[in-house]
């Protein structure tokens, strides 16, 4: 099934099996719904799949309030760029309630957001802002790359006792893959997944960029280079053990993501690797991410902003080059 169908299945099963679950967001009810929430209001009623006004702060705030009373709300922020409007509720309330009240109140909400990058919609409808939320203690941050992971991780997020930011990617909507339909199927948060085993270099990625990593690995194989692709799947909690284990074997790493490279998730990962494996690494960890610019409108420019399989290959080649050549390439 497609990613959209997998996410729809997770929401459908959660609504079916747990009365505490309800959905709220803009244009999520039929007949206007077209994404993962399509048909759910028809099946479960508009009491459990609520179309809201355009009011992001209140959508998330209301989810928090209901969650404090024991519900499991799944809020949708249509496009990730709009999350700024709800950021106060997420950052100052959802993330901190458990701590500030000594565990007496909690906000186990799920906030589903979509990244629209790659569609030519310009700077305010395209950003991958997951690093913002990695920086806030108390939040969990999840970014699936396959339908199976989408279903398994969304199910876990909904029933997780902490607030989760669940990042969907519009360019992955049509991705197909096998998905277990057993309602109990869930993937624990905080477990990375080896999407392709390898021995010479580890490509660490998540979300859409996993496709670039897999594409690069396939090409590199023809050149006799064996690349392992590690899909993080959740950024918080981060599976440090899996990252370190893989790179200890391959001794080279390239991190690739669609979020802006500067101060992006890759910076944290590279830092962990440099301190954990200082004597083991054959080359500095390479980081690829979006260029440090607001996204441009024209596709020809936008494609310059994001990583690609070719750029991953070039980065791998830099990690394989002898140290003297590498210094030249960087200078």
């Amino acid at each position: 099934m497609t990613m959209t169908q997998a996410l729809n299945l997770a929401l459908d099963q959660a609504l079916a099996h747990d009365e505490r679950v309800f959905l709220l967001g803009e244009d999520i009810a039929d007949p206007g719904a077209s994404g993962p929430t399509a048909k759910l209001s028809t099946k479960y009623g508009v009491d459990r799949v609520l179309d809201t006004p355009i009011s992001e702060a209140a959508i998330v705030g209301a989810a928090i309030g209901a969650a404090m009373e024991g519900f499991r709300p799944v809020a949708e922020i249509m496009i990730m760029d709009f999350i700024g409007i709800a950021a106060d509720q997420i950052v100052n309330h959802a993330a901190k309630l458990r701590f500030m009240t000594g565990g007496r109140t909690t906000a186990p909400i799920t906030v589903r957001v979509q990244v629209y990058g790659g569609l030519g919609t310009g700077a305010t409808h395209s950003q991958s802002l997951e690093a913002w939320f990695m920086h806030v203690p108390g939040l969990k941050v999840i970014v699936p790359s396959t339908p199976r992971d989408g279903k398994g991780l969304l199910t876990s997020a909904i029933f997780d006792d902490d607030p989760c930011i669940f990042v969907e990617t519009i360019r992955l909507r049509g991705q197909r893959g096998l998905v277990p339909t057993d309602p109990a199927f869930a993937i624990p948060l905080g477990q990375a997944d080896v999407k392709r085993p390898g021995t010479d270099v580890t490509l660490i990625s998540y979300g859409r960029a996993v496709l670039d990593a897999l594409g690069a690995a396939a090409t590199l194989e023809q050149e006799g280079i064996s690349a392992e692709v590690l899909d993080l799947r959740t950024l918080v909690p981060l599976d440090v053990e899996a990252i370190v284990e893989s790179v200890r074997r391959t001794r080279r790493a390239v991190v690739v993501h669609d979020a802006v490279r500067f101060a992006g998730p890759g910076a944290e990962i590279a830092s962990i690797l440099h301190s954990e494996l200082f004597g083991v690494l054959e080359a500095p960890v390479e980081r690829l991410g979006a260029r440090f610019v607001p996204n441009p409108g024209p596709s020809a420019l936008e494609s310059q902003v994001y990583p690609s399989a070719d750029r991953v290959i070039a980065a791998v080649q830099r990690t394989l080059a002898p140290a003297t050549v590498r210094a030249g390439a960087h200078g």
């Binding site: 244009d27 355009i54 009011s55 310009g122 409108g297």
Partner: protein, 332 residues
């Protein structure tokens, strides 16, 4: 409100309104035809059907008056005098675009025409309009700022905060709500308890006026009043202009969520042919005069499009420009 053509606006204003409305319609029609056939590639949120509102703003505002609009801004931009080449150029990613093509459809600005912001974020325009109006006052200028937005935008906190501030400080702002009866796929009545957006004005302590958004004359009358109040220190007005989105939310929207017959009824009230019929009836213009205006509008659109298509695509080095005042501030 019924208006009387002969009493309310002069023949010159009637002509100007028809010129603007036909230009806005022609610009939308040509773009739509091009996207549908694959000739043109861009994202577009059509303004077809909402032309009367933008044309009325066009005749009621001075060049130095400010406008803040949205992604659905083609008509508003034309009304405020942004050259079509800059609009199309921006939508189609050419160097001749308002931002040399890199900002995209949703983000067009042209300060020389008073267009300070087009925003893709629903509700984010009115707070900026408050600041533009504050600046005019501090500068001692009698400029007025119009914020144009949809019905759905009035459900945002930003709208509420801005309306309250504008009223509190008697700012020279006109809040123009283009109520096209939908926000994306959701009918307006599903997202607010009140029937009239204009009723919200009472909560802020400003006048709220509901007007037929497909009647350019009624709009000119209402806008003239609101603009005069703002310019003379009387504070803001919320003007609800009731209209319809004839092409749906985005170009290509199949509009499957619409009840049977709604689009047909709305099309029957299309403001452009309706105004034409009314002008003919009033007798200042004949068929030939109006045909000539339509021809001129269509020709202006073709000329602008030809200029845009002959212009170079947005240069790749635009990526490195305008992130900061000094590009050296960009991390490598």
């Amino acid at each position: 409100m019924t208006t009387d053509l002969t009493v309310d606006v002069s023949p010159e204003v009637q002509r100007r309104l028809y010129e603007l409305m036909t230009l806005m319609k022609a610009a939308d029609d040509r773009l739509s035809k091009g996207i549908a056939s694959g000739e043109l590639v861009c994202v577009y949120w059509p303004s077809r059907g909402q032309e009367a509102i933008a044309a009325a703003a066009g005749v009621c505002l001075r060049e130095d008056d400010r406008l803040v609009t949205t992604y659905r801004g083609l008509h508003d931009l034309i009304g405020k005098g942004v050259p079509l080449v800059e609009i199309y150029g921006e939508m189609l990613g050419r160097q001749v675009g308002a931002a040399r093509g890199k900002g995209g459809t949703m983000h067009i600005a042209r300060p020389e025409s008073g267009v300070m912001l087009s925003t893709g974020i629903v509700g984010s325009g009115p707070p900026v309009a408050v600041g533009l109006a504050m600046a005019a006052r501090r500068l001692g200028l009698d400029r007025v700022t119009v914020a144009s937005f949809g019905d759905g935008a009035t459900n945002t906190g930003s709208f509420h905060e801005a309306a309250n501030m504008a009223a509190l400080w008697d700012l020279p702002v006109v809040l123009v709500c283009q109520n096209n009866q939908y926000g994306e796929m959701t009918p307006t009545e599903h997202t607010m308890k009140i029937a009239h957006v204009a009723d919200r004005a009472a909560g802020y302590g400003m006048p709220g006026v509901r007007v037929d958004g497909n009647d350019p004359i009624a709009l000119v009358v209402a806008l003239t009043d609101a603009v005069e109040r703002a310019r003379s220190g009387g504070g803001p007005t919320l003007l609800e202009c009731v209209t319809f989105r004839l092409r749906g939310h985005y170009f290509g929207d199949p509009m499957a969520y619409m009840p049977e017959g709604q689009l047909a009824a709305a099309s029957a009230a299309d403001p452009v042919p309706r105004f034409r019929a009314r002008l003919l009836e009033a007798g200042n213009f004949g068929e030939l005069d109006l045909d000539e205006i339509e021809r001129a509008s269509a020709a202006a659109v073709e000329e602008a499009l030809a200029t845009v298509l002959a212009a170079p695509a947005t240069a790749l080095d635009e990526l490195d420009r305008d992130v900061y005042a000094d590009p050296r501030n960009c991390p490598a």
